[in-house]
């Protein structure tokens, strides 16, 4: 048993820094305001993080596969608007699968471009961010979308209801997180995602079908976005057509905060969930302490930079970069 040196402790802090920071924040906020750790507050935070969280789960797959997805924000607007529109035309039982099919078709298109045509994912999804935004506006005619009969529909249960005292959005978030975590950590497909993101060339030579794996990561991302859109639509039963605008970067912030490398090949679902929760609890904690909502932006900035910096500093063994 080697002795714990100062360096080891430093390395542990840097590696698990995100968990340590999470615990420190929780304790600090709990001391500042006892309401912070009340059960209804915790449920409230997770519930309001759930939509962002579900999207982050899908993006985690894409990022581990070595790509980016900047289109999730406008795709979420799209699925929200579509499901609200179809709700009144087809009824909820048909509207949900129809919306999932349309969102998955968009995901398939992106997956085809990035996976099979090997186009740069940043630009493709940037283009799709704009294109899907235009599609949504054209679809809705630029108007907001509302459900006519807000009282009499069971659709509201998805975003507003609760089962056995636990809000449904939390159950959806947790359920999806568990399923996707198993998929990423315990199945051959999950290992292939890591392989493709870690070293695409090596993976190809080992017989991993790179194109198909990348395609599938975008399908998973689209599926998560569709779920998030459904939750958003059900929560408010009406929506602006820009509801997801800007979320792509917040989602990415949560994924990076969880420790996934943008170069691909590393990250886990569990860590992403921690990243999402940190963002949510910081926001909530700062509000409870009495600060305005925008203070969280600045705090998030500092935390993201510190988290990534410490992570790579631990890997290279020195704090400052070797850049001359």
């Amino acid at each position: 048993m080697a002795e714990l040196t100062k360096q080891d402790i430093g390395r542990f802090l840097a590696r698990q820094g995100i968990l340590v920071a999470f615990v420190v924040f929780m304790i600090a906020f709990a001391l500042a305001n006892p309401r912070f750790l009340a059960v209804d507050n915790i449920f409230g935070v997770i519930r309001s993080s759930a939509i962002l969280g579900v999207m982050a789960l899908g993006v985690t797959f894409v990022v581990i596969g070595g790509n980016l997805d900047l289109s999730v924000g406008s795709m979420m607007s799209f699925s929200t608007i579509v499901v609200l529109d179809l709700h009144d035309k087809l009824g909820p039982t048909l509207a949900i699968p129809a919306m999932f099919a349309m969102t998955l078709a968009l995901g398939a298109f992106i997956g085809f471009l990035v996976g099979y045509l090997k186009l740069n994912s940043l630009i493709v999804t940037l283009g799709m961010l704009s294109a899907i935004h235009g599609l949504t506006l054209t679809y809705s005619g630029g108007k907001n979308m509302d459900i006519a009969d807000k009282e009499g529909t069971w659709f509201a249960v998805i975003g507003q209801g609760s089962i056995a005292g636990i809000p449904v959005p939390i159950l959806l978030f947790a359920g999806l997180a568990i399923v996707l975590s198993m998929m990423l950590g315990k199945t051959p497909f999950g290992r292939k995602v890591y392989a493709v993101g870690g070293n695409g060339t090596a993976a190809t030579f080992s017989g991993v079908p790179r194109a198909r794996v990348v395609f599938m990561t975008y399908m998973i991302s689209a599926f998560c976005v569709a779920t998030a859109g459904m939750m958003q639509a059900s929560r408010s039963l009406g929506s602006q057509n820009t509801v997801g605008q800007g979320m792509e970067l917040e989602v990415l912030a949560a994924v990076i905060l969880g420790g996934a490398s943008l170069l691909g090949g590393s990250g886990t679902i569990f860590k992403t969930v921690i990243g999402v929760l940190i963002l949510g609890f910081i926001q909530n904690g700062l509000l409870l302490v009495g600060l305005e909502f925008y203070v969280q932006y600045v705090v998030t900035w500092v935390i993201i930079i510190l988290a990534v910096w410490l992570d790579i500093a631990a890997k290279r063994g020195r704090l400052l970069s070797p850049i001359a």
Binding site: G134, V302, I305, I323
Partner: protein
């Protein structure tokens, strides 16, 4: 080889020509107004409207040539605008009368430069990828914007300033002059100076550049300071005229700027790109926006079309490169 360069750099201008012809012809059949699309005033206005995104896109070009990216320009834009308008209401500035204008401009430009320097220093000293650093500061700077004045809009109209911003010199609007002037200076910087040459070298092959004795960090820092400066210059030009800024202004500007730069053919991986082509990319986007409006299409379709064109350009670029490489092998 020369043919290839011509094909790549000429591509965006050919695209602009196609747009002009298409919208002029289609406009004859579809347009509801009597004015022709190629109307001279219309074109002048187009240049003016391209200025805010255009000036930012110029800065994005040099950062991307370095192999970096800056996602925080929208927030820098907003914060500089607030400093510009708010500083003119400070008591000592009020006493100075119209002399406060150049000072307010200086404050705003300094704000942008400092924010850029913060990004540049973090990228340099921590070695964290510029994408992550500026993603963080995009949030952080936006937080600063809100902390300055809460959720209230910041407004201050100075009529001398408005007159200046609306003035036309030799037919071109003030904003257009700033766009063209900035483009000229940056073009000189990137093609005629050591800094420009080194910036290309670093983006092309960082290892090789380091081995050749080029100090990477300072060049990063300079380019980030320049894009910060240009983001605030864009704000100065735009808000001198409008006189009111919302804390959400400038959101998604980074994505528009990147789109224009990529349309102009600059590589995300660095080492390749040109200021002049970016100017083409900016004009092409604005032309599309105006043209679709001219032929009576919903303004909403603009986003759809731009997005698809961006992907198509990427695809064509890939095909061109592949062909070039195959020729090289033979």
């Amino acid at each position: 080889m020369n043919k290839e360069i011509l094909l790549k750099q000429g591509g965006i201008w050919a695209f602009i020509l196609v747009e002009l012809i298409f919208f002029t012809v289609a406009g004859n059949f579809l347009s509801t107004s009597d004015k022709s699309f190629m109307d001279f005033d219309n074109m002048l206005l187009l240049l003016k409207q391209s200025a805010p995104i255009g000036i930012i896109a110029l800065g994005m070009t040099i950062v991307m040539i370095n192999g970096n990216i800056d996602l925080s320009v929208g927030a820098t834009f907003a914060l500089s605008a607030i400093v510009l308008l708010d500083s003119m209401t400070w008591p000592f500035m009020k006493e100075m009368g119209d002399w406060s204008i150049p000072l307010a401009w200086a404050f705003a430009l300094a704000t942008g430069t400092v924010l850029g320097a913060i990004n540049g220093l973090i990228v340099w000293k921590t070695g964290v990828d510029a994408f992550i650093v500026t993603l963080g500061s995009m949030l952080g700077f936006r937080g600063l914007v809100f902390m300055y004045n809460g959720e209230q809009p910041t407004s201050h109209l100075n009529w001398t300033l408005v007159d200046f911003a609306e003035a036309q010199f030799l037919g071109l609007h003030t904003a257009t002059w700033f766009l063209l002037g900035a483009a000229l200076l940056l073009w000189l910087l990137m093609t005629k100076t050591v800094h420009g040459r080194n910036a290309y070298a670093i983006g092309n092959n960082r290892e090789a550049a380091v081995n050749a004795g080029i100090r990477v960090g300072p060049h990063f820092l300079i380019n980030f300071m320049l894009i910060g400066f240009l983001a605030s210059l864009s704000a100065v030009v735009f808000y001198s005229e409008s006189g009111s800024v919302n804390p959400n202004d400038g959101m998604l500007y980074e994505l528009w700027a990147i789109t224009a730069v990529v349309l102009g053919g600059t590589k995300l991986t660095g080492g390749y790109g040109s200021i002049v082509s970016t100017l083409g990319g900016v004009i092409a986007i604005q032309l599309l926006r105006k043209g679709l409006g001219h032929i009576g299409a919903d303004t909403e379709t603009v986003n759809l079309v731009i997005g698809l064109i961006l992907i198509a350009v990427l695809f064509l670029d890939k095909q061109l490169n592949r062909k070039g490489k195959e020729e090289l092998k033979v």
